[in-house]
């Protein structure tokens, strides 16, 4: 998206006198006409899928694309944007970028009913229990957090926090270790051969594209239940997969970028692959490995609180239970959420201090 490109080529022209500053040249017409055609085509697509018309995905079934309800407005906006770009003498590529952003935003906004929901907000604030809910969240019930037990058991609420922290620690240690091994295999610098690294990269991108909730649900099903004790195992396994994805991706990129000097020295001294990885690659990426591990630990705290929502152990399970019986009062949920912010802040500070000390 490079706009205002040719400013520099004008500098070659003799400097203009006084007020006559050289203007950037008008962009070529045909690309802009093409963009107008594209805008009309987008309008046509929106018009075709208007009112939730099902669009055929060839053999697989119909999908509702929720095209914007007023495609004409979209067309007008797009044409106006193109006109403005023309006036500002933006290059066709930049104008194409702008057009794409407008079209996608228009589609996405209407997909989630942007305007309707915004229009509804004042009504919600005055009527309904929204106000009560917000007041409840900002007046948390601290005694619930420290003194009460999980309903129906003798487990205290703060014990659930401890379980959440434990899950995060276990998952971070195992996940980062496996992630280190996979990153070694995934980077062509330290891997056996090109094929291995490509395979591991493909597997890794599949692992990374499944969200952590889906992993948690999958493992809960694989283990055979979401009972309490098994729930922690499911959460830990899900977090491990989540961590492997992140660490392997980030670390293999930093392995790609290490200095070639130590590698060549190790090769020249006759090291085999494992010795070379041990003495040349590992020390070079160790600082970034440690900082990624700390980052992943922070992510794990957040994620393990959230994962409880799908029925695994830890504070998240209690959070989802409290959300389920929210009609009895919002102070308990408020307390958990405030405590979550507090714990995340503490972990941030801790990892910051460790990072300062180590690196």
């Amino acid at each position: 998206m490079s706009k205002a490109v040719t400013k520099r080529s004008d500098a070659a022209a003799p400097p203009a006198q006084g007020q006559n500053r050289p203007k950037p040249p008008t962009p070529k017409v045909p690309p802009y006409l093409g963009l107008v055609v594209l805008a009309v085509a987008i309008f046509g697509f929106f018009f075709w899928t208007w009112e939730g018309t099902a669009v055929l995905f060839f053999p697989l079934g119909d999908t509702v694309l929720w095209a914007p309800r007023d495609p004409l407005i979209g067309l007008i906006i797009m044409i106006l944007a193109l006109l403005i770009c023309w006036k500002l003498r933006v290059t066709p590529m930049g104008a194409f970028g702008g057009l794409a952003i407008i079209a996608i935003t228009y589609w996405a906004g209407s997909n989630i009913h942007f305007i309707d929901r915004i229009a509804e907000v004042p009504g919600r604030l005055t009527g309904g229990n929204t106000r009560q809910q917000l007041v409840g969240y900002f007046n948390p019930d601290w005694s619930y957090l420290f003194l009460h037990n999980v309903a129906g058991t003798s487990r205290p609420i703060w014990g659930e926090w401890l379980i959440t922290l434990c899950m995060a620690v276990v998952a971070t240690i195992i996940g980062c270790f496996i992630g280190l091994l996979l990153a070694m295999l995934a980077s062509p610098v330290s891997s056996f051969n090109k094929g291995t690294s490509q395979t591991i990269k493909a597997i890794n991108s599949v692992v990374r594209s499944i969200p952590d909730v889906a992993w948690a649900l999958l493992f809960a099903a694989f283990i055979g239940g979401t009972a309490y004790g098994l729930g922690a195992l499911a959460a830990v396994l899900a977090l491990i997969m989540f961590n492997i994805g992140i660490v392997a991706k980030l670390l293999s990129e930093s392995i790609d970028a290490i200095q070639p000097g130590p590698l060549e020295a190790a090769d020249a001294a006759g090291a085999n692959l494992i010795q070379r990885d041990r003495v040349a690659v590992l020390p070079a990426v160790m600082p970034s490995f440690i900082s990624y591990s700390l980052y992943v630990f922070e992510l794990n705290i957040r994620a393990s609180a959230a994962l409880g929502v799908v029925g695994v152990a830890g504070i998240g399970g209690e959070l989802s239970r409290q959300i389920g019986r929210m009609s009895q009062g919002y102070e308990n949920v408020g307390a958990i959420l405030w405590a979550l912010v507090f714990v995340v802040l503490l972990v941030d500070l801790l990892s910051l201090s460790i990072r300062r000390k180590l690196l």
Binding site: S2, I112, D212, V309
Partner: protein, 393 residues
Amino acid sequence: MSHGYKVSAAIVGAVLLAAGGFLLTYAPAAESSDVFSRMMWGLAIGAGAFALALTIYGLAYVGTRKQRTQAQQRSDAGHHQGGYTPDRLDMRPVKPVKFWYNMALIMIGVLFISSAAGTGMTLSALLEMPARIWDFGLQMVGGVAQVPDEQARGNWSSAFDAMLESVAIAWIGTIVGAIFSLPCGILAARNMTPLATYIPMRFILSVIRAVPEIVFAVAIFIPLLGVGPADRGGAMAGAFALGISSIGTLSKLISESIEGVDRGPLEASRAAGASHIQVIRWAVLPQVLPEVIAIWLYRFEVNIRASAILGALGAGGIGRLISPPNGLFGQRPYDWEAIGITLFVIIAITMLVDQTSGFVRHRVIHGKTVKQKKQKPGDLAAQEPDPPKSVAV
């Protein structure tokens, strides 16, 4: 003593053995026993492993006593008999002491065992898992690979619906974050603002970063905008939660890249009499905009994954489709064919979006890849030089 690696292998092995054995055999009744007491159990086991490791280390030390005395004698001999005394420069460099490194590893091991015990998970459940994974995996693959009948068509289309909704949520979240993050990033860059705005801005941004998305979603946006599928407002709530929480990270990254700009253009535009806003417009933005767009696109990828967890909480998108009590994983028995189809759609669309945004990012940062054509001698004059890489404004 060149037994270092053997010793550390022994330590690691002992720790892992102790942990595995403990977790396989000790099956706490998690409902009755306390987390704290379980962690204490774990600590006790960890202490045992530590003692074991220390014993092995000590035995290794004692076992190599003879060699050590011989080495000592050899180095002493030089002094006494007036023979060849190794110079400091002739000797191999002294191996650095790895005591604290080893201690840190052991501490991590103890922490690991203790928290593994604290979670109360029973690893014996893992023994049945491979068979189930095989069974369910076959069903999932069968679901994806079958010729779609009426039900499968329904699964495909609902999966596509939910995933496209997730993409829409993530996009709107990214747009919201992008709109707010550029001014915030400029206000949080030390070389652009006075200290009086810099410090409060930094503080606000770090507060936003510390609050997880689920807190924004549950506490603010679900009450304000509604819960459930898109037409009841859940998707909007998710989008806004993602947007607000991306402001923190985006602004931090943007302010860092603004702090790293080249000072030359800034001074030049100031010397030409530009006001503060003109300096930002003509000297700062052209330098940072490719990086900023790359940061925004990266956040879009992150948001797609994050929207799943918000869906599980009642904001729309793919999370709503899969999570209990109403989703695919809430039904018993599990409909593995539908789950397989849904996972396939998730993977396909996420990877597609990643590839696209990766391509755009590469294009924005590195510019167009120019293919070197074979030049005929004649058309050298006709060829225009490639325009210099510059920046969208």
